[in-house]
């Protein structure tokens, strides 16, 4: 007996065309073409530099966040880790520590934050939504508590310039190169390693993953560690870029990260999503808001547009799923009517959407 998987029954090029990732990339190209041709001052090197400098923290944190959401978990504490690592860096530098040493300390703090989240989620078995809402408040509370309302703004120029350094005459900030390296690492990890296959398995069916030998707890723990360290790295960048260490740095950044990840085609229920789509999602939001700002559109309207875009993109997944479901059902019914009455069990064909 032969089973059909509608999603795989079509030729590769057609599957590629209808994938969420392709849709986001197409939309990104569309917005870029519009912005370059119709938005004054968009197509300048300065705009590109600022655009990358602005979205770098989101790009960075979106990488581990993608993997975490693919497992069906979430990390809401990332922005608070950014704040805490910023305060760690600032406080130590304020007390005479050199920037590299303070930066390593900030990364260690990020690692510890990730370990706490990971331990509670992976080994204690608490829901990540609840745990990281708690640590969101906890880490932010510590960050604001340490520095109070004051800000550390005395960083050696050598280091703050480095955060804004561009590569040669290209206008591409150095941080983008750091991001590109990490993006390659995370792409390999998710899409080309057995660890990554485990990540998808956990998201699709955690019990099945467990029984097929995926180290579920360890995988989740490691992912939260990644999230903590990368968020701390983003915090160091954020601090040096703005030459300012404050407890309230990057407040609310977690929602921008998650919005971009979901826009990039990652399913909030886990099991589906690609790094490339997420990168396109972050770029799409960045390009769109930069272009709209240049057009003089106010912040509220920009938020409304991005919000609608996100809702539409999440809805499109459901609509697509419904359409393909209906198509699969009709297909099965036709087949059933014509020949073999006992065919594919319902639902199997859609499982890998």
């Amino acid at each position: 007996m032969s089973r059909t998987y509608p999603f795989h029954a079509q030729p590769l090029w057609r599957r590629l065309l209808v994938s969420r990732e392709a849709a986001v990339i197409a939309l990104l190209v569309l917005v870029l073409v519009w912005a370059i041709n119709f938005v004054s001052f968009f197509a300048t090197q300065l705009t590109m530099t600022f655009l990358f400098l602005d979205i770098a923290p989101i790009l960075l944190i979106a990488l581990p966040m993608t993997l975490i959401i693919v497992t069906g978990e979430i990390d809401l504490s990332v922005a608070s880790v950014v704040g805490l690592s910023s305060v760690t860096l600032g406080t130590l530098v304020d007390h005479g520590t050199s920037v590299p040493v303070a930066a390593i300390a900030a990364l260690v703090v990020g690692l510890a934050c990730g370990a706490l989240n990971g331990f509670l989620v992976a080994y204690v078995g608490l829901p990540s939504l609840a745990v990281t809402i708690g640590t969101l408040a906890l880490f932010r509370g510590i960050a604001v508590g340490v520095l109070g309302t004051k800000a550390v703004t005395d960083f050696p120029n050598r280091w703050s310039d480095l955060a804004r350094q561009t590569v040669g005459g290209t206008g591409i900030p150095l941080i983008v190169v750091v991001f590109a390296v990490l993006a390659v690492v995370f792409t390999w990890l998710l899409h080309f390693s057995s660890f990554g296959r485990g990540v998808y398995d956990i998201g699709l069916n955690i019990e099945a993953a467990h029984f097929t030998g995926v180290p579920v707890a360890r995988s989740k723990f490691v992912l939260f560690l990644f999230s903590g360290v990368v968020s701390a790295l983003a915090g160091i960048y954020f601090t040096l870029r703005f030459t300012s260490s404050r407890g309230d740095n990057a407040t609310g950044l977690e929602l921008q990260v998650i919005a971009a990840v979901l826009l990039g085609g990652v399913s909030i229920f886990g099991g589906r999503g690609k790094v490339i789509g997420v990168i396109a999602g972050v770029l799409l939001i960045g390009v769109l808001s930069s272009a709209l700002r240049l057009q003089g559109v106010t912040v509220n309207v920009i938020n409304i547009i991005i919000g609608l875009l996100l809702v539409a993109s999440v809805m499109s997944t459901s609509v697509l799923a419904w359409v393909s479901d209906a198509a699969a059902r009709r297909h099965n019914r036709d087949r059933a009517a014509s020949s073999d009455p006992q065919l594919t069990p319902a639902g199997v064909g859609n499982q890998k959407r």
Binding site: L28, V29, A43, T153, H191, D248
Partner: protein
């Protein structure tokens, strides 16, 4: 499965790099846009408040708009939703990209905005800060609401006037290490030397916390039964003290003055708890900042000490040390004028 993932990623990567290449290719065309904008005559002046929807900045920026209209410029206002430096930096960056002639900024952080502001200056945009300053190196001019001497002296004048120039007074300040407040208190102490019959009995700190300031006021009145007046050089402190006094038996007997906002103080002025308090007038501040920007863009001034310019109805101003222009003595609010203000 693996190979298809690989190929999807590959194709997507190519598409993305194409998109980036397209955006990169566009770089050259930027120059033509630049020249077209600088050809137009109207000066473009953009106000960037700490955040949008803040009544204080609504007042100042509306007056700025009026001033820009007077000299025939093009006014706009942009800003972040929250008063955070990183969000504000994006708006400064955008104005630099648009080669706006001048931006008028109330800074959310003295140093965090410097990179953006310097980049704007490099792009030919004049930078005026008002209300809240940045590092002097990051802007062309700071339009200050008032100077330390003026603020300190005005408050002593008001309390002396209200208590008949004799009796015990106390100060309710913000936190013990608040830079602004301590500078003003130093001036007040020097100024009080000219009023030999007024005795400063105590300085207490409410930490700009409403409840704490309220409690400290209560303690002051218990500890010093002969207290005639309280000076609170902080908007939170004066409002909390007024709230306590308005319900206590000391209402009308113990005078209260200091720095407050009309909206917070209106009901205490109306019920007689407070006779007069001061703060700078944000409208004049925005108006002056717009004219300072105008003078910079026109090339009338460079922002050097001693430069003089005319600011419409407010008259002539001179740039002081550290490239600071001072609006003047604080504005006094009382029952006769408080209803004209909303911030």
């Amino acid at each position: 499965m693996l190979s298809s993932t690989k190929r999807i990623t590959g194709v997507a990567a190519v598409a993305l790099s194409l998109a980036l290449a397209v955006s990169g290719c566009g770089k050259g065309s930027g120059d033509s846009n630049d020249s077209s904008s600088s050809g137009s005559k109207a000066q473009t002046i953009t106000f960037i408040p700490k955040n949008l929807g803040n009544p204080y900045f609504d007042s100042s920026d509306a007056a700025g708009k009026k001033a820009v209209g007077e000299f025939g410029g093009t006014y706009s206002q942009v800003g972040p939703q929250d008063a955070s430096p990183d969000a504000q930096a994006q708006y400064i960056d955008t104005e630099a990209q648009k080669h706006t002639n001048a931006i008028v900024v109330s800074a959310n952080d003295p140093k965090a905005l410097c990179d953006s502001l310097n980049q704007a200056k490099d792009a030919g945009t004049k930078v005026v800060t008002f209300d809240s300053d940045t590092d002097p190196s990051c802007r062309d001019i700071f339009v200050s609401p008032s100077n330390t001497e003026g603020i300190g002296k005005t408050q002593v004048d008001m309390i002396a006037d209200q208590i008949g120039d004799a009796g015990e007074v106390a100060i309710l300040s913000a936190s013990a290490n608040a830079t602004n407040q301590n500078a003003w208190i130093d001036v007040m102490k020097k100024e009080l030397a000219n009023h030999p019959k007024i005795k400063l009995v105590e300085t207490v700190y409410g930490d700009d916390d409403d409840q704490k300031s309220f409690d400290k006021t209560a303690a002051l009145l218990q500890k010093h039964p002969n207290l005639k007046g309280i000076i609170s050089p902080t908007t939170v402190g004066i409002a909390a003290a007024a709230r306590y006094l308005s319900t206590s038996s000391s209402k009308g007997k113990v005078m209260l003055t200091g720095l407050g906002t009309p909206n917070l103080m209106r009901k205490y002025v109306k019920d007689g708890t407070v006779k007069e308090f001061a703060l700078w007038n944000p409208e004049d501040l925005g108006y002056l900042a717009a004219y300072a920007a105008h003078a910079l863009v026109s090339g009338d001034i460079k922002g050097d000490e001693g430069d003089k310019f005319k600011a419409g109805k407010l008259g002539d101003f001179t740039v002081g040390a550290d490239k600071v222009v001072v609006l003047g003595d604080p504005f006094k609010f009382n029952a006769s004028n408080i209803d004209k203000f909303n911030y």
